[in-house]
Symmetry: C2
Subunit: 205 residues, 2 copies
């Protein structure tokens, strides 16, 4: 009986931990690491400081988990039904479309962009996670380009990493402008620009 009780307590603890992560994620994403105060976290979770830090070693651990959660949500939104889209060029167009049309899934914009800027001169753990997030995203996009080259759909001389970097840079930079201006026009412009790039790499040799 003791074993079962302990297991149930652990499960409840884990559920609370997950809830705190989910509720902290938009706060960290909007305010950044330094800008997210204990009060913000208490307000978002309805817990006291002790109730929150029973589940995490420190603010860094909570911030890292919140980032992982926010990134996972964002990737889910940005790759929705991507595997159903036929052809490399159209897969890239779909990636661009989802980024331009669908919000990131966590309030405050793209967690990758926010955390990258927040941590490039700061928190080394968050910096490492953001770096991995960017590199994984680039690897996924480069794989689409590589498949397109293999299928003869994309020009052989195309550098998959370069195209992947171009897509990420243009979208993230445009999101920065869009969020500042509170209009989607920079994102629409990014889409038009990336269409030039996608046409350029997919035209006949």
């Amino acid at each position: 009986m003791l074993g079962i009780e302990r297991e149930s307590t652990m499960r409840k603890g884990e559920a609370t931990r997950q809830r705190i992560i989910a509720e902290a994620a938009p706060i960290f994403n909007q305010k950044g690491y330094a800008g997210c105060s204990m009060n913000d976290l208490m307000e978002a979770t309805g817990l006291e400081k002790g109730g929150i830090y029973r589940h995490f070693a420190n603010k860094e651990e909570l911030a890292a988990e919140a980032f992982r959660f926010a990134l996972a949500q964002t990737i889910k939104v940005r790759t929705d039904h991507l595997e159903d889209v036929p052809g490399a060029a159209n897969k890239l167009r779909r990636v661009v479309q989802l980024f331009v049309e669908v919000p990131s899934g966590v309030a405050g914009g793209c967690p990758l962009l926010n955390t990258a800027i927040d941590a490039d001169d700061g928190n080394p753990e968050l910096r490492k996670l953001a770096l991995k997030g960017i590199q994984d995203w680039r690897t996924r996009l480069a794989a689409i380009v590589e498949a397109g080259i293999a299928a003869g759909e994309i020009r052989k001389k195309t550098d998959p990493q370069r195209i992947a970097n171009a897509i990420i840079s243009t979208l993230e930079g445009a999101l920065m402008i869009s969020r500042l201006e509170r209009t989607r026009s920079a994102l629409q412009d990014a889409r038009a620009t990336l269409e030039i790039v996608i046409r350029d790499i997919s035209r006949a040799e």
Copy 2:
């Protein structure tokens, strides 16, 4: 005599104020508004709290002045000898080259990007300044494109605002990746991508 003494004190006060702004600028640019502590500012300036806030109403005013200073330095670096470059397409290439090859002039990367991300969900005064910084930059770039259209060098159907947004987005997004990866490869990739765009708008109709 009293008048002259008062003037000399005011001048000295103004010099100290300018020095504090210049020394605070890299701290705000690296750490963000919330991340920049009183201790950071005291360490950077060698002054006590009272010595700093004799010259500014509050942290917001100092942060705003530090941003203005950082942005002015950055614009100076990014428009160096631009007027000597003949032709719109080559002027755009020069803008891209300067951004890719020359650091922003203030430690911590691009103050526009940093402040935009820092303030998009936060400090309204900084947000307004970053917004104006982006809009002014776009206006300057769009004016180059417009001049190119008027000179018959750039295709008539080109949307100057869209090209300006594309250049800013791609460069700022690439800078985010470059600073995270601590290599310049994303910036080099951005340059190659923008060359495709510049060629596209400048080819014969």
